[in-house]
Amino acid sequence: MVGQMMTPSQGMIVAAAVAVLALAAPWFAYPVFLMTALCFALFACAFNLLLGYAGLMSFGHAMFFGMAGYFYGHVVKAWDMPPELGLLAGVGGAALLGLVTGALAIRRQGIYFAMITLAFAQMVYFFCIQAPFTHGEDGLQGIVRKPLLGGLIPTKDDRVLYYVVLAIFLFGYGAIYRFIHSPFGQVLKAIRDNEQRALSLGYEADRYKLLAFVLSAALAGLAGATKAMVLQFATLTDVSAAMSGEVVLMALVGGLGTIIGPVIGAFIIITMQNYLAATGEFVLVIQGVIFVVIVMAFRKGVVGEFSEWWKARRSGPRERPAAAD
């Protein structure tokens, strides 16, 4: 992790610089782009909580992300309720969906787990095509932005909303940080590294795995509901298998199992999509190429490779050859 490689004062400088950058960003970059990127960053962090710390690779996380968007839209538009309740519905609905699919998926391990989550996500996708409240291929459009906290925070202004989204992101990120550094997170890591040992020590591995799955689903739901709030629509794209693949790619590019990696990965992928949007199919081709290149050559991702390079640099030239492989 980045924090451990630096002295405390260096860490403070970096943290301060990031904070200033995050606060000033909407005056330099398009706020809607930043908000979308933050939503995906939270989504990728939620995915990474499961893979990096519980060792469970879900290939169906889009079902939580996309469904939460629909829940948000339905509560806010069709039921005409305040957006806070919409966000709550998104998080709660995703958590419930996570509880059901997770309880079934953890019955198998390894690669089967990925296939089962993928299959469930596909089932949710087919459901969304047919269900009336999602409006099928058209998507749920025109979810008007309403002021938050009973009118205290106007959200029509993109820059104001940006700070709301930043706060939501920091809340989610902070929650993940707490999970990982709590006794619960330690048990999760123990299960990831050696499930039999954790079982023999008296930890009920399945319950911990299920809890991690539900938490990850809920946070993915928070990201999806927030995205629907920002962009004012929810579509089939967000529940599709391609979206499940995209979030894996974000975490992979940034670095699996690093806490900051998925954030960086999400920003890289969203920026890339933004620039390549006009090329159509080539976005997918390039994403595929990135998958292949990373799996073949840079399995640690941006953050992992960088921290390795940094360590090698600091530990002096004599040990440098060791870092080459």
Binding site: A114, A119, G280, E281, Q287, G288, F291, R299
Partner: protein
Amino acid sequence: MFELIGIPPQALFGQLLLGLINGAFYAMLSLGLAVIFGMLNVINFTHGAQYMMGAFAAWLMLGILDVPFWASLVLAPILVGLFGVVLERVMLKRIYHLDHLYGFLLTFGLALVIEGLFQWKWGSSGAPYPNPIPGGYNLGFMFMPTYRGFVVLAALVICLATWYGIERTKLGAYLRAATENPTLVRAFGINVPRLITLTYGLGVGLAALAGVLAAPIQQVSALMGTNLVLVVFAVVVIGGMGSIMGSIVTGFGLGLIEGLTKVFYPPASNTVIFVVMALVLLIKPAGLFGQTK
């Protein structure tokens, strides 16, 4: 004509035939996945793309070189299988020592690249492939298009031949032995890496063969395998990848269940296989034909 609980027999048998055809494709594809997984420990996400490549190979050969369907049935799987061999030699073989997850991610990325390139070159709308055996038979209770009947029979023959090849021949015995203990098999002087390459080529060839058979029924399009491979994953989870015969039975069975759902409750026909998967996970988590672990 008689009626069955309010369903006209034409509709019932028509959907059952359709289910049988879908089942034939599920069986052929899950068979290939199982064979590849057994040997390579890789879940081949590119399977859907390779199925699509088979259909495209037949379509292109017909359009450019005027190669008839029956020749494509042999040539297309060989071509796509060779492509698979190259893929295995250049990429897959470098990641066997890693977690299964990386094979999954690598083949997922490859599927994106292949499907994206085909979509870019030929669009996603799809092209028709002429039916090689038009016409059909009136069986009294339903009309049977000849080609569709042929597909079901051909798929059965292909599946049983694969089963025979793996379970009853000497090469198959080597293969199964190498799956169990590659080091020991190498000590006997058998070239295991080459066996692995051949297995991947065979699995990919099977997918391509399914693609050629599908070409006259479905539109030939870049994304024809994208959703199919996801359903096949569910089929594989239901059947378990331990047994060849299990894959075949599960594939055909699920196709029939899907067909029946289309008759009795059409809205659920897309999701019924996933519901079955959930039930199987509840009752027999290792899969119907899978060994524990």
